[in-house]
Symmetry: D2
Subunit: 347 residues, 4 copies
């Protein structure tokens, strides 16, 4: 449950209420909000204690969320959360575009892509160094060397970088290479070992929705991250598995407006994996932002036919430029901002 | 297969090519296009005949569609089809809003709704007289009397009307009451008896996608309509059944850009049945038009809590007005038009 | 709600309780049970009336079903229902096999199949005269002539016949040709017009589950049949649409033991449409009966490669014989009976 | 591709053919078969090389599997594989029952359960020490201490033990505690890091199917295990996620007969997680074995209401005894064996 106290409740009183819960063996977590004290009781409270707390004059509101998550629950924060990745703000009224190659495939290529991503006006650079592949015989990524190449390219053009982590033991490598945001892929959304490890990395996390994960399960995975130490979680819808085979997956935009009510976390959309075909990504990106997404994540390649993975869903440079322009318009007509990428030292 | 002939091919030559096919027992259908002669061979042609036709100097292009539909196939027309419902144009660069009560529930109420639909700027009035209900004990609609009330309300405010037909034997009633567009509901998408009967009504048809219908099956149902006499078909996506239970259904916007390539028919989106909750319908409507839909169909009620069916997903009048404004903006930013409803005699 | 009265409650008292409900405008239906009086109140009763009835000393049990169906609810009958099709008993501890060609394709062929079906030991003959086909260009069945051929073949070998009806206007033709059981196909499970018409035919009905129908929706469709006059409904699971594409559909056997608790109706399984491949039908048939099904419905053809529809899922005669032997064994090890087909005048 | 050589092909010739592939940079793996030499070329071979090999007189058959897995492909082995877990044989015509508590919850309890599992006649003891839980606030298992308790209980009654591993770093703990079979849970089916680590543990692996994994993806995950060193993989179907909510998941028995054709690995079924309700597990277990499963895995608890996880789906001791009896009968009527658990030193 979440307790929202009256503005101005003294710290000692807040502490007393938390102590009351802790004495029952229930863990509490204080919200970083400033407008009023808010705290969550993460363990299940007995009805008698809930009644007692609700009756306390300092308690303005006691919320028993329908979904049982707490730290990522909308009520735990006054306003939607803005997550900072490098210098780029995600959520809270800002629309962003994340772009890059599906996989990092060499120093020169990733730099070429980074430059075109920046020129197109996207704010964040993505690229896979560790690739989760269905078949053991498919290209598995360049590993740590790929992280280095990605970070160098991002630094060269002045863009923060996002990359997928698949293994808890790699957390130090991601930190050492100053990867700005760690991505948890769809297949690992319920890899709880990985969630716990990544939560301690001190970096923002991009959490993709599993192919067949309910929204509830997705938010619980975000709650794992929050509970184990990472408050800066960005959700990313990437299509769910349905009976329809005309597209690879079905982008679930229906859930976006509800997610806004259920969590304070920013929400991105990756239209590429659902579409599976580059030419339908632009209209889907427009739709995602129109439905309320805080931005989109796409793949781009100067010569998609040479890509070692997912070439058919990579945009051409000119298509990315058009997509960024679209994102700016969609941000405007839905009352949000689209800022250019941060000033770069050398681009 | 579809044969696109060279512009200027003389009629006699066109007829000769069709006769060649018909002699093999294959039925042919001429496209209403004017730019060049185009005809479809609806039965499966032997490879030898296809080769022979392809070699004919008058044949510019012989298309063997991947999906096996013909008359609704994109290649059967030069340009996307515009369907006229009453005086309102649907498709071909025009965005429309269809609105009305879920069910027609009395002469006064439907007139009140019709007036607010017109004031809000929507171009078409919808309302259910025959209601397909899961339970035999739920309200089943006013039947023919409902058709009369709907048509009278539409006439009073000058809006063409759309209503669902569930039974082949009711075609005369729909025609007699001058219902401008007959809707085939999701549960009847593969009610082939109904499709055949409705195809002969001489009215445009709004064909909803079945809850678990693939796009291919949907287009085959449209092909039934076309084959049995109705060229003016409007498709309407209304959400598919998936594992996610947070929303009633999942709106499949992913398919929209592909549908554009597969068929020349206009495509609407009904976000209400997927959402199941009125307050998330506006962002989903924006997303639908952003993804390329030719318009949206929604439900509106001045007092949703009094509605005899689907109250929770009915918009309030002010919400409809805002939604129409949004539709106009989304049409503009995606390069399309949004025209006001036709001039009314008395509104 | 369903009221189960004490054994021996006098008729006048039963009538008084029903009158009490009817005075409130609630329709009641008496169960054909003999062990004790049972009746259903099909309309929603106010809480006060429910409390009053529950307090009546003649009322042993008042059941508010979780699912809102009444006449097909398990509690409406003392024992599971046995439906008689011709002289064959379905349900109530008897296991049956229904077999026949996918479509009736000529007098000689259907007779040949009927003879092999009887020789194999199956108790009911099936065959499609009206075929629901996804494409308008596929073979649509022989229509009324097909019904005649099927019935003649059934009569010749002494087997009752089952055939699918797609159109309310064909009810007289099915009755005139003495079709013993009318089948509602998966695509028509929520064709409420058809359900109402078929319910008045005075024949048992085989109701297939829709491809994406929940069990709840399926039982409501059975309730339509019961409410409009047909008490003899046999349910038939035939596979649901899922993300898996290795098989055509996924047979939902998981639901079988629950269905037993939710309804008194017999339940068959059609493994062929889910499997899509003949050679996996035998193990799935065993599994269906092991899970509790009252029998299976399969397709058989002496030369599957010549079948005009669904050849790949038709069993060979010898495979049908083995399947019937399996069914007999599965009936035995699950404590049920498997009777040979009824004595035939001429076979 | 897979090459099946003629019986009696000399070793030198086999080596020469493998060398031919390796020179092209293609890795090869020799099958452990003895009837004839068989080897797989795991990397994609150019068409010219395939043609050359096919023409070699020693090559009896060159198989290009439709699904792209190799080491787990049916053609890689002469006969279906039998996996030995402790002294218990799984697959190859033997039917087994795995039973135990959902989670290990204390030394005395797990011993009590182990004794009743053995008395019931099940051959393997299962129990969770590391629990993958949707919510971070749910009971996460006893960890390594749970492994110790499980193994001690198994040793006391003479049953090999199976337990789920969630973290690559725990492989040594599972080996040190002599866990006889490592289970990969549904949520980790595509946790490729874990698959690679577990493959090197030198123990048989029970690989559960993901909730929304296609059979193809599942077999690729098994191929990961085989490619990285573990030949002894047992597949376990546990229900897939569908639109139906009456049951927790839908057990996919339809796929079982196809799996037999696609892989040589043994296949178990866990009906409990799909059902979610103990009382429908017995008929589903019968159905699973009737459909061809090599056995079932279930949960049992002497007092399910006290279980810390999944109590509602735990069988009572008497129910397990009946289920084992059923399994024995189903094995018999499908032509397979059901052996009692191995002789125990002290039970």
């Amino acid at each position: 449950m979440i307790l929202r106290l009256r503005p101005g409740t003294p710290d000692a009183k807040v502490q007393a209420l938390r102590d009351r819960c802790e004495r029952e063996g229930l863990r509490t977590v204080l919200s970083p909000e400033s407008a009023r004290p808010v705290f969550a009781v993460v363990d299940k409270a007995p009805a008698a204690l809930a009644a007692e707390l609700r009756a306390d004059p300092s308690v303005e509101e006691l919320i028993q969320p329908q979904g049982d998550w707490r730290l990522v629950h909308r009520s735990f924060r006054e306003r939607p959360t803005t997550v900072k990745i490098g210098g780029v703000r995600v959520g809270g009224g800002e629309v962003v575009v994340i772009a890059g190659p599906c996989s990092v495939e060499g120093r020169e290529l990733v730099l070429e892509v980074a430059q075109l991503v920046r020129r197109a006006g996207a704010q964040l650079l993505r690229g896979g160094a560790f690739k989760p592949r269905t078949s053991p015989y498919s290209f598995q990524g360049f590993g740590v060397e790929g992280l280095r190449q990605l970070k160098d390219a991002g630094a060269a053009v002045g863009l923060p970088v996002v990359s997928e982590i698949m293994d808890a033991s790699n957390v130090p490598a991601f930190v050492d290479h100053a990867i700005d945001c760690l991505q948890i892929g769809a297949r690992n959304m319920q890899n709880f070992t990985l969630l716990k490890a990544v939560a301690t990395a001190g970096r923002p996390v991009l959490l993709k929705r599993g192919l067949a994960a309910t929204v509830e399960e997705w938010l619980y995975s975000a709650e794992y991250l929050a509970h184990y130490g990472c408050a800066d979680v960005v959700l990313c819808e990437r299509g769910i598995r349905t009976f329809e085979t005309a597209t690879r997956n079905t982008l679930d935009l229906t859930i976006l407006p509800l997610l806004r009510e259920w969590t304070h976390l920013p929400i991105l959309v990756d239209p590429a994996h659902a579409a599976g075909i580059a030419r339908i990504i632009p209209p889907l990106s427009r739709a995602a932002i129109a439905a309320g997404a805080d931005g989109v994540a796409v793949e781009v390649h100067p010569r998609p036919e040479e890509a070692r993975s997912d070439g058919p869903q990579a945009l051409l440079p000119a298509e990315l430029t058009a997509l960024v322009a679209d994102a700016r318009i969609m941000a405007a007509v839905t009352g949000r901002s689209f800022h250019p990428p941060p000033a770069a030292a050398c681009s």
